[in-house]
């Protein structure tokens, strides 16, 4: 069900309200393209502007935004990726490790736990209700407790500490999406495996999990993006060693605020993973987001 809705979204217009295009309507269709196109580009102006600035020389940047003098350069990208005095490569590495770690942990905890809840009556409705409830609470509520907890566990400013924090933030979303995925798998499939004498574990891992692939991908993609984009917990739980790119880039602006070319390049680079997902994994994103699972 999840994937059906998503597929129809990604491919466009199945069941659309407008009737099929007829020639007198041609012009209106192009009008629609124009209106939607303008809106679609407008909402991306901050990003497009950053891309533009990232290819300008320092001199051209200083000449002001409306200067038409253009001498494209990739210097800022070289700086962002390797110049001494910048920690961007480490920020990227940290973001990647934290995001991948959170994806793995959410799946390792979420898949068996959700299966037990959905199919084996583990925890009854409680697990679903608690997941939905946690989705509602602002992350800031956990700022102080998590700072204290991570301090006690000596996990402040470590990658594992941020992996745990982001697993906590995203586990409810994972459970909500996975439970929908499990419910979409016909129970007969599992019953057949039971009859053949497969144990519960075997049924889960060799029969059910392969059928769950679309949900697993959706969860992985969303958890990766949300973890990559996390700022609040990075701000609270990291100071230097485990700093991810969001915090690194924001700190850079507040501390110097002059090297706009380099900061633009670093920012543009760090929007790439989510943007690539938006393009190549769109149907998973759409189904995941519209299941009411987005977080702010």
């Amino acid at each position: 069900m999840t994937t059906d809705a998503a597929t129809s979204l990604a491919t466009g217009s199945r069941g659309s309200l407008a009737t099929r295009p007829r020639s007198p309507r041609r012009r209106r269709l192009w009008g629609t393209s124009l209106v939607v196109g303008i809106i679609a580009i407008s909402v991306n102006v901050p990003w497009l502007n950053a891309v533009l600035v990232s290819f300008k020389t320092e001199g051209d940047i200083g000449r002001g935004a409306l200067s038409t003098h253009l001498a494209p350069t990739v210097d800022h990208y070289m700086n962002a990726l390797g110049a001494s005095g910048y920690d961007f490569p480490r920020f990227f590495l940290n973001s990647t490790l934290i995001a991948l770690g959170a994806v793995v942990l959410v799946l390792v905890i979420g898949v068996p736990g959700t299966y037990a809840a959905v199919r084996l009556g583990f925890g009854g409705r409680l697990i679903m209700n608690a997941s939905s409830g946690l989705r509602l609470l602002p992350a800031i509520f956990f700022a102080v407790p998590y700072f204290l907890l991570m301090s006690n566990m000596h996990l402040i400013d470590t990658v594992p500490g941020l992996i745990i924090a982001n697993t906590f933030l995203n586990l409810p979303l994972g459970i909500i999406l996975l439970s929908a995925g499990f419910r979409d798998i016909p129970i007969e499939v599992e019953e057949a495996a039971w009859v053949d004498g497969a144990s519960t574990y075997r049924t889960l891992f060799s029969v059910v999990v392969p059928m769950l692939a679309p949900s697993l991908v959706a969860v992985a993609v969303l958890v990766f993006i949300f973890t990559w984009n996390d700022y609040l917990f990075a701000l609270i739980l990291s100071s230097s060693n485990a700093t991810p790119i969001t915090l690194g880039a924001a700190n850079f602006v507040t501390s110097t605020g002059i090297r706009w070319g380099d900061i633009s390049a670093a920012t543009v680079l760090s929007t790439f993973p989510p943007v690539l997902f938006a393009i190549f994994a769109q149907r998973f994103l759409v189904s995941g987001l519209s299941s009411g699972a987005v977080k702010g």
Partner: protein, 293 residues
């Protein structure tokens, strides 16, 4: 299912559920408990010995102008952006919900603002709005408008506009997804009856779409209430405390002033205010599993 299998399944559910239980106890239950507990202690970053303070933190909180201002700003901001974004998102969904050239690429472009990290978007907004090199001030200057965007009078409308740019795509997406499951026969019937376009929207589409629009409003509202990243990166809650949201207030109270007890009390109050909404969300998700997504 054989008896033996049933017993096996019974044990399996605990084995499979064990990681979830463990994680929930250590990293959910303990922090929640610690959060509420901290709100009754005079815990500060400087003084971790923390004498019991009873309800003092709560008394301080409700007599603190900072908290009340933050609450007022947060609620006003959240209501404003949610209202505007829902209306715009609905309009956009109605426009996009047909076949037209370039639909796929524009749809992807429309999703992009949701994917970009809000903190990074904050950085990009700073670049866009920078007085010396930013595009927006340069354009305003060109048409003869000398506005200081971050001045007390203009900063709130500015933040509202930026939020609309970032999150209208979200309300659009939810409503658009809902339109995909819209029963086309109802619509065709309305058209055969000769109902006009506006009338179709008002008396056919809106009533059927009500639950989905409601969901968009609800989801956007709870996210707007917790707004932190963009505003913190852009204004850090200033000038003064003018744009301090509740999240920024709690963050600053805890990690800049070191008032952990006070911050925990503020968090607990917010949680108590939001808790009655939980059953609503639970019901919504349960229903959605059945139809929409």
């Amino acid at each position: 299912m054989s008896v033996q299998n049933k017993a096996g399944a019974n044990r399996a559910k605990w084995v499979l559920g064990a990681p979830l239980i463990l994680f929930t106890v250590v990293f959910v239950a303990v922090p929640v408990f610690q959060g509420v507990q901290t709100s009754f202690y005079a815990l500060t970053l400087q003084d971790p010995s923390a004498p019991f303070a009873g309800l003092q933190n709560y008394r301080d909180l409700f007599s603190s102008p900072g908290f009340l201002n933050a609450a007022r700003f947060t609620v006003g901001f959240a209501l404003a952006v949610t209202t505007i974004e829902t209306i715009l998102g609905f309009g956009l969904a109605m426009v996009v919900n047909r076949t037209f050239p370039g639909k796929k690429i524009f749809f992807t472009l429309l999703l992009m603002p949701i994917m970009v990290a809000p903190a990074l978007l904050g950085v990009m907004f700073r670049l866009l709005l920078n007085g010396d090199i930013g595009l927006v001030p340069a354009l305003l200057d060109k048409i003869g408008l000398q506005i200081s965007l971050f001045a007390p009078d203009s900063v709130v409308p500015l933040l509202v506009v930026l939020d609309i740019m970032q999150w209208t795509p979200f309300t659009f997406l939810i409503i658009y997804a809902g339109l995909q499951s819209f029963p086309t026969d109802v619509l065709e019937a309305a058209q055969i009856d000769g109902a006009g376009r506006l009338r179709t929207v008002a008396s056919v589409i809106l009533p059927i779409m009500k639950p989905i629009i409601f969901a968009a409003v609800f989801l956007r509202l709870i996210d707007a209430i917790r707004t932190f990243d963009v505003i913190y990166v852009l204004t850090a809650g200033g000038p003064g405390t003018k744009t301090t949201t509740l999240s920024i207030f709690i963050y600053k109270t805890a990690f800049e002033s070191g008032g952990f007890g006070l911050a925990a009390a503020a968090s607990t109050v917010i949680m108590l205010l939001l808790l009655p909404l939980v059953p609503f969300l639970v019901k919504r998700i349960a229903r959605q599993e059945g139809d929409l997504a």
